[in-house]
Symmetry: C2
Subunit: 462 residues, 2 copies
Amino acid sequence: MTTLPTPTHTYIDAHWDEHLERTRAFLRQPSISAQNIGLRETAALLRQWLEERGARVAYFGEEARPILLAEWDVGAPKTLLVYGMYDVQPVDGQNWTTPPFAAEIRDHPEGGESIVARGACNSKGPLMAFLHAVEALRATGGLPVNLKWTIEGEEEIGSLALPGFYHAQRARLAADAAFEPFWSQFTLETAPIITLGTKGVMGIEFTCRSGDWGGPREVLHSSLGPWVASPAWRLVQALSTLVNAHQELSVDGLPPLGTIEPEDEALLHKLAETFNAQETLTRLGAARFKRDRPPLEQLEHIEFAPALNINGLKSGYLGEGSHTIIPNEARALCDVRLPPGLKVQETFQAIKDHLARRGFGDIELRMDSGYPAAKTPLAAPVVQALIAAYRAHGYEPTIRPIEASATPYYLFTDVLGLPFAWGGLGAAAGSHGPDEWCSVEGLKALEKSLTTFLAAFAVQDF
Amino acid sequence: MTTLPTPTHTYIDAHWDEHLERTRAFLRQPSISAQNIGLRETAALLRQWLEERGARVAYFGEEARPILLAEWDVGAPKTLLVYGMYDVQPVDGQNWTTPPFAAEIRDHPEGGESIVARGACNSKGPLMAFLHAVEALRATGGLPVNLKWTIEGEEEIGSLALPGFYHAQRARLAADAAFEPFWSQFTLETAPIITLGTKGVMGIEFTCRSGDWGGPREVLHSSLGPWVASPAWRLVQALSTLVNAHQELSVDGLPPLGTIEPEDEALLHKLAETFNAQETLTRLGAARFKRDRPPLEQLEHIEFAPALNINGLKSGYLGEGSHTIIPNEARALCDVRLPPGLKVQETFQAIKDHLARRGFGDIELRMDSGYPAAKTPLAAPVVQALIAAYRAHGYEPTIRPIEASATPYYLFTDVLGLPFAWGGLGAAAGSHGPDEWCSVEGLKALEKSLTTFLAAFAVQDF
């Protein structure tokens, strides 16, 4: 790798005020998908800036919140598919100390000098950092890779159109790898984190209604309890067969852990060396883990164990005071966390079959949404380029096999057939909450690190 | 027993228009305890009518909704404690076809010519029938028994003051038996039903909170499910230990059936002869019973089995759509139906101990309210007097050991030490719902049968 600073980094320093102001302007333009606020305007603004930087831009999907595809074909040997989003979460009912769409620069208790704005962290800040990285590369020798940047405006409402778009445009989106620019540090002093994959997730609503098995068709007075069974009890009994005494998923045919590759095991061993159980519990706000286990096993579980979570449970009378009834329906809203190796449909069917085998075949299971885990090998050039970029900036990244939270990166692996990575230097936080922020220094570090990463990915010099 | 009609019955026929109009006037006076409407006015009206009929009347408890004690000491050898209530349920949001406080007389699909009014059935109609029965007896030879009539104005909000009043006034309320005038027929053509007792009931709220056992102190993102346990799962697991596969209460130390006396068994045998399982299920709106059993066992269970009912179950996200969280609390609102032999505190403690023995000692149990079953032997003179009265009117009553629904008649047995009965001819229905009604002929039959009963109880001529 070239020694830093590169001419591109020098360009960024020279144009920093302008980049910072354009980023703030973008943050001042509301784009709340859940409330259909400002999406068209934001997309238009973005299109203009992309075209000014040489992209060929096309709109896909709904006119009200289009998916943008910005393409730079520079005839380079490597092509990168990039993911971005221009919509943000609502801000209603949140206690912001500066207005969420003012994008003021001020001292933030965690971030130091920061932009405080909805979208600063998630993900208009990173979007603008990538836009400016492209500009800086073009101004200092040209883009080293071809780019296909897909930018959606409905991530916060579930990326409704994105899977269909990726499916339909598979050929046009052909690339060597996929990438999402995003903060990877807690502060500029901590090691950036690289994660080789994400878990999948599936929403399942379990509904038990009165029926041929028994239960009252209409809500019944509970004095009839000795005679008439209850959907609430039936749901309780059915659910309790799905987990063991430690609340771990325990469904016929589903493994206690997903697929752990040898390289994952090696990474987990390394992470286990510094795993601090007590610190972790304090951060989680819990007195104990589901099970006491040695550090390596705890890490195996958070990254590779499936979990069945009850998000909501409701039946009968939900008010104050008493109301002596037998309900005619009971519901549990659940999610299943899917590690690599557990497929959506198979897992859903295994849970259904497990219940049916125990006499609970009448319980209705409705899948809300679902997608599988996604994983990229450590050796993938896109990952190695990111590692190289971090090292060039003087950081040794922490590498984790799997992110416990779910992200639909299966779209990269399963739909587009691409290895993927996500990252960039810099720190930001407060997604979805009040006083969302990104550090000003972090934003500049992100922008610079993205140019370093693109250069590394282009020449595969690592 | 004297042959009917007695001079008292002839008096009732002669004064019927007046009795009917006074009853309608009483029904036109709203007395909704839950909304604190008209209680004082209703009590004052009642007091006036009682005093006009020779009673010494005293107010007890809260001035806003006093308990009335009306006493007639006629120097008779027998004294009867009578229970009544002057409050009614609210009518809001109900679809009445004639105004609830107009007390119109009209044709009712079930009752024929009926008064339609809130309280017609439950229980201002029976109250007025008893008032007029007293009047008729006084006008035709005098009351044959001393009466102590306690009339409360807060039955519909849980009889808050009554237990304390009965405790405090035990000496003043000394009597030979207790009695509540109430309809016992479905129509004037069906056999009146005598029930020798009522079940008790206890409200228990089970709460599982995060704590030393685990679980997140604050609602947590469900991606942490492989590590952090959930109060929702814990409550599901704890509850599922309290019932068997048939949803029957299955708690260490609690019997599957309460105390069944030999005379109860004989009565159940007789009832089993005409028990129709399919008809019963149709009436309940259920496809099957908790268990298929022969008729005798089904009757044993509805009357003598305890039951633990889930009235309401709630945890986490109760709205529409999804919300991927681990809740920090879960609650189940339950009631326990108590047959004779199961005491309130002991049953509560048995459930608590059962859970603690299975490692769920952290789950909080809060008792909302609770009272035990009450039972009177078939041989009690008050019961025999009621049977004799029905027979004098040409009816052979159906006798059941226990009413499945709960009524705090333990106040008669356990607090006042009195055997008890409740009944009277006539049909009425619609308690708590719209178009509550009592049949006009039924009201007259109730009034007459009450005079017959009082006469029978006085002379114990049966």
